[in-house]
Symmetry: C2
Subunit: 415 residues, 2 copies
């Protein structure tokens, strides 16, 4: 395999000693080493998993969605599931826990890491909060975190704890319970409370702060949170680029500014459309309502180029540990934008193909080699999970940074 | 005296029982009550106090400066003295401690509360920091705080601890030691260290964070600092309005946003000029360099109206505890602007007169009354220090919020 020095931080050298069931070296034997899963999280918002897992749609619709999810599973190892309070618990006390659990389990069974999004947000929060006092809203929000984080522990161990706090207390499009309590607690105050509760309910979870605001506001907010002892595990950055690709310069500038904290960075909600660009004068993306936003061949080529460049820049940056394309498909995409990697009819766009080529090809490690007389083989591979196959036999292992020599016992497959 | 309900938070009712040296009530006697000092801090930047106190200028110049300071003392009870590191200690190890001490003492002897400005700032910081490593810069900065805050304790118990932190780590006009360490420590990190050191060296001092940025950036920064336990005693807001008076709406909006923290607010650096308005396209005020910026009669009237409105709005707001006009005189004013309340020749502008009328007249309490048969007199007055005069005799007292009846012993003046 060609050396890729720009991805050195994503790779490690691995030395394996292969022995048989009796402990004897498997010497001078050809083995195939296959990368089965990236350590890096390549994700999508994949809300359709709920219907697929619960099989609560007509058979033809189910088949269509299963086809879509197969395309997703062919490339991605990470998924975001929706926990918008307004939809998850439209009637107080009747959360969709079982439906979401089925979806999370369906994904987990297929080796997909699942993130819940979000636990706290002023948009799409429970409308029935409006009938409560601020004290009761806070209590309800903390109880919601406790219930859901506990219920999903083991299935979902990554959470967007709180979403869009920069604007939260000054959000003025409509009244909502979360803006009310954020005004009272302050930005750092509400983040602190919500992280403390989430951490308490799932001590091992990966907890994110997430925002679309990538200005100095968000930097100062993170700085304040960290100094106030908020246990942020990763910085979530949204990048809905309906108004045009940020480009290399802005992307690298954002990465540079948010790298100072020394925390992992997750690109949590990435959008690059294969349609026309939303006019720059639109301030709130939600205000752009058009009847049709077609995907066109020309713009699909542009999307593919932008997706490839952006993913490459992010994958090269050692701080970045996850990239999530927000809409896997144009079907049901936010704002009706052609934001997916596949079209409404599930046909893959060039952006899907280019990502697949990168993620499963160029950035993946699949080698064939021969063990030496001691049964040892060394290779350099991208971090993650691997299968080693030797004839009918297979053994799994992991490539991590700075690993020691690992002794693998080769047994007949299925043993 | 007319009731001024909009200033109720600045006033208190006071009941005094006056007795003579033998403890007998001074009954049915006319007394005069004179407001000698406001609790509210009406201040100016008054750097000329250094030359006046040290008498290190020619006699005619000294007389001119003394005249200026007399005008200052006629109205104001608070002064800001300069501690810009580049000027205070141009050569490492040779600080102007004695000169500044003389100035602070001169002011204190005249009942003026003195603030030191600033202990940490990227602009006008010591140029010799550039020769040091970041570790050494931090050490030098902390040592500077320790030395100066300790040296001035009792003379200066109010400090702008750190100035303009929002821009500090991204300040790119020129390299300087403080921007260097602020990049490394982060905004909240550097604030935290500097406040901790200042507090340690003068536990009873009033410590300010100060900024010209009044946007959401500064709000989030303060929020982070308070959640991180930084002991901020008052929020400092600069208001250099060379580009035009903010006006009531913006002023009230800023007050509203910065009131959420529950901390006192100090308007630390106020400028309203009596000249033409600086063009709005100037981003950094320092970039506006013109040979002459005259004070004109027409603009002096405008300045007087603006000063009167702004001071009234601020004095009405219960959170505000101090207003400092940055340049008392046009002579030597920042950017050469006609920013003073007096002209270059010490003649008072209408803004001076209007402020004097407010501070020493409308917002001051001077009453004459008669004690009752028990020697008791009650009045309502603005908070602060008072003299009670009865014939040849005088006694001092203070009006504070929610005070009990106070027993004053009237003795011959001078006893």
């Amino acid at each position: 395999m060609e050396r890729q020095p720009e991805f050195a931080h994503r790779m490690s050298s691995k030395t394996i000693k292969i022995v048989d069931g009796a402990g004897n070296p498997v010497a001078g034997t050809e083995v195939t080493i296959r990368h089965t899963n990236h350590k890096f999280l390549f994700g999508c918002g994949i809300f359709d998993a709920i219907q697929v897992a619960n099989k609560n749609v007509p058979a033809d619709r189910l088949a269509f969605l299963e086809e879509k999810l197969d395309l997703f599973l062919d490339v991605f190892n990470s998924a975001t599931l929706p926990f918008y309070w307004a939809r998850f618990e439209p009637e107080q006390g009747k959360p969709l826990t079982q439906e979401l659990k089925a979806a999370a389990r369906w994904l987990k069974d297929r080796n997909v890491t699942v993130k819940g999004h979000p636990l706290v947000w002023h948009t799409l929060t429970a409308p029935w909060l409006l009938d409560l006092s601020n004290e009761e809203i806070l209590k309800a929000q903390l109880a919601r975190i406790e219930r859901d984080v506990t219920d999903f522990e083991g299935l979902i161990d990554t959470w967007d704890v709180i979403n869009e706090v920069v604007i939260m207390p000054i959000f003025d499009k409509y009244d909502n319970g979360i803006t009310r309590i954020s005004k009272e607690l302050g930005r750092v105050g509400i983040i602190k409370e919500m992280f403390a509760k989430t951490r308490q309910c799932n001590p091992g979870a990966t907890l994110l702060l997430n925002d679309f605001n990538t200005s100095i506001n968000y930097e100062i907010l993170i700085d304040g949170c960290l100094n106030a002892g908020v246990p942020i595990d990763a910085i979530g950055i949204q990048s809905h680029q309906h108004q045009g690709y940020w480009g290399r310069e802005k992307l690298e500038e954002v990465l540079e500014r948010f790298s100072h904290f020394g925390l992992p960075i997750h690109f949590t909600e990435n959008t690059l459309t294969s349609g026309h660009i939303m006019p720059p004068e639109i301030d709130d993306l939600n205000d752009y309502q058009i009847p049709e936003w077609p995907s066109t061949p020309e713009f699909e080529e542009r999307q593919a180029r932008e997706v490839e460049e952006m993913y490459t820049i992010l994958f090269k940056n050692p701080r970045v540990e996850a990239i999530t394309t927000w809409n896997f498909s144009d079907e049901g995409a936010w704002l009706g934008a052609p934001a997916g990697l596949v079209r409404k009819d599930n046909t893959p766009k060039p952006s899907y193909e280019v990502l697949k080529k990168r993620i499963k090809g160029d950035w993946s490690t699949n080698v064939t080699g021969r063990t030496d007389e001691d049964g040892i083989i060394t290779f350099e591979g991208f971090l993650g999970d691997y299968d080693l196959i030797c004839g009918e036999k297979k053994v799994s292992f992991t490539v991590e940074k700075d690993a020691e020599l690992e002794r693998l016992v080769l047994l007949a497959e299925g043993m």
